[in-house]
Amino acid sequence: MKQTIGLLTKYFGEGIEVQTGLRDETFILLKDASRIKEAMELLRDNGFSMLIDLTAVHYPGREKQFELVYNMLAMEPLLRLLLKVPLEGEYPEVDSVSSVFKTANWYEREVFDMFGIRFKDHPNLKRILMWEDYEGHPLRKEFPLEGDNLHCYD
């Protein structure tokens, strides 16, 4: 893991920040969201061959409202690395990594569906869990739990 962190610091310099997790996880904060594709390619070529999960968290109070979480797995030896990318704006846009990891295709569609984060150069950026003409993004914090009553049968 030290090797990977060393590599990332060498490559990104001040652009990354290592955060120690609550238990044994390693979190790495990538400050510049436009370099995500570079970072993923670098990680993929250095052992982190699998993108286990891609999700987002909404923090309405912060200046950078959204945080993408790329959950990476290296197989030999087993290492887990969670790459966090803060995003600015109400409907932020970030580069798609579906050309680096094929599995990112559906995960990015899900993040778009649930949070409204758009991905540049995504081959098929459509809603995946909700239906296509649905309005709103359910996992944002301002979205009410009981729904918005727009789609109720009356």
């Binding site: 997790g21 286990i52 087993l78 990891f101 094929k102 995960y107």
Partner: protein, 398 residues
């Protein structure tokens, strides 16, 4: 010469075939649109989300304890594995471990759940491609497992067996006897299943070379579990990153070579045998002791204390009304469920409710490769591939 060839090359229109949303071979509600050229699949488009219930959103508005029943409804063929995976995640967040007896009980529950899941997957996959008999023979044993589950936790499908810091009930002698009987009866049943399917010429022809997937592709798509092992990689979190004391059990991780439907079937059969092996070791070595952690801030105190002491009453009320208070922070905890890696990513802000709870379902990335896998195969092969991937819609859509 060329003119004759032109005449033979009759151009046909492509046909669109809808499989689902409600169709006998889609286990759960899925919609697959197949574009056919004759019998060959040229392109396929999958639509999911018919079973989306917003589990992650609901989790943000429930206490940690109250999320356990939601995990039952994700992979409903082995709900007990989801319970274990979730409570392990919360225990990791709290920095506690369940008592030794509870850990062994959880291993027993997990392995029984894994067998039940593989029985469903193999049985249904065989039915889909026409081998009905094997299904009838093997499904009896799923029923026996559910009988054991109903004695362990009072329910067959919606188990909610585990609690934060342990399990809800202890095993009684009658249940242990039932598990022992099951372990005696089940291995011959696997032999019976193999006699019906493994060397069956029709089954072999229908599954060998179908949905072949290379290891690089499987890793690119984020495969885990039996499907990854069938592609040839020995990858099992129980071995690589042991939890619940799995390092103390002897078992092997089966792998395939070609990653096709037949290999996935073989890997699942062998995994059932290995689960029986683990169960045999676990059932003989259940340590004595409590089944849930003795911490009134995390687990409910015993009923005598609640009725007879004021401390017990207060901590009972605090737990029911407020819930467990966890430290602020983020964790990711993964377990090897029957389908693959089941991960829970929890963001906590120090309150009694999670700030964000993310479920990483094993079959979501696996199913995203379906479109690529079926291209060039026949329509009937799409059915075989879908069955072998073991898509559980409740887990896929959450």
């Amino acid at each position: 010469m060329t003119d004759i060839k032109k005449e033979i090359d009759i151009k046909t229109d492509r046909m669109i075939v809808n499989m689902g949303p409600s169709h006998p071979v889609t286990h759960g509600t899925l919609h697959i649109v197949l574009e056919l050229d004759g019998e060959t699949i040229v392109a396929s488009h999958t639509n999911i989300g018919y079973l989306h219930r917003g589990v992650e959103k609901l989790g943000e508005n429930r206490t940690y304890q109250k999320f356990i029943p939601f995990t039952d409804r994700m992979n409903y063929t082995s709900s007990i594995n989801n319970n274990v995976g979730y409570t392990l995640a919360v225990e990791k967040l709290l920095g506690i471990q369940s008592p030794p007896r509870a850990q062994v009980l959880e291993v027993i529950a997990c392995e029984l759940g894994r067998i039940a899941d593989h029985i469903v997957c193999i049985g249904i996959n065989a039915v889909d491609i026409g081998a009905f008999t094997a299904f009838l023979y093997i499904f009896k044993y799923r029923e026996l497992i559910y009988d054991i589950f109903s004695r362990m936790c009072g329910a067959r499908l919606t188990t909610s067996y585990t609690r934060i810091g342990g399990v809800s009930r202890d095993l009684d002698d009658e249940t242990i006897r039932l598990i022992r009987d099951f372990l005696k009866e089940f291995p011959p049943a696997i032999d019976e299943l193999e006699a019906l399917l493994t060397k069956n010429r029709i089954f072999y022809d229908r599954t060998r070379g179908i949905g072949e997937f290379t290891l690089e592709n499987a890793i690119q798509y984020g495969y885990t579990g039996p499907c990854l092992r069938a592609a040839g990689l020995e990858w099992d979190l129980r071995k690589k990153m042991p939890y619940l004391g799995y390092e103390n059990y002897e078992f092997e991780v089966p792998t395939g070579t070609r990653g096709d439907v037949y290999d996935r079937y073989l890997v699942r059969v062998e995994e059932m045998r290995q689960s029986v092996r683990i169960l045999k070791q676990a059932i003989e070595n259940i340590p004595e002791g409590p089944v849930i952690i003795e911490d009134p801030k995390i687990a409910l105190p015993p009923k005598e204390d609640v009725y007879n002491t004021i401390e017990g009453l207060i901590s009972h009320m605090k737990l029911i009304m407020e819930g467990v208070r966890v430290p602020a922070g983020e964790i990711y905890c993964a377990t090897e469920a029957a389908n693959g890696e089941l991960g829970f990513y929890i963001v906590s802000d120090g309150e009694t409710k999670p700030y964000r709870i993310r479920v990483r379902p094993p079959c979501f990335p696996i199913f995203s490769s379906f479109d690529e896998q079926v291209q060039g195969h026949m329509v009937a092969d799409a059915v075989a591939i879908l069955g072998s991937l073991n898509i559980i819609a409740g887990e896929l859509d959450r």
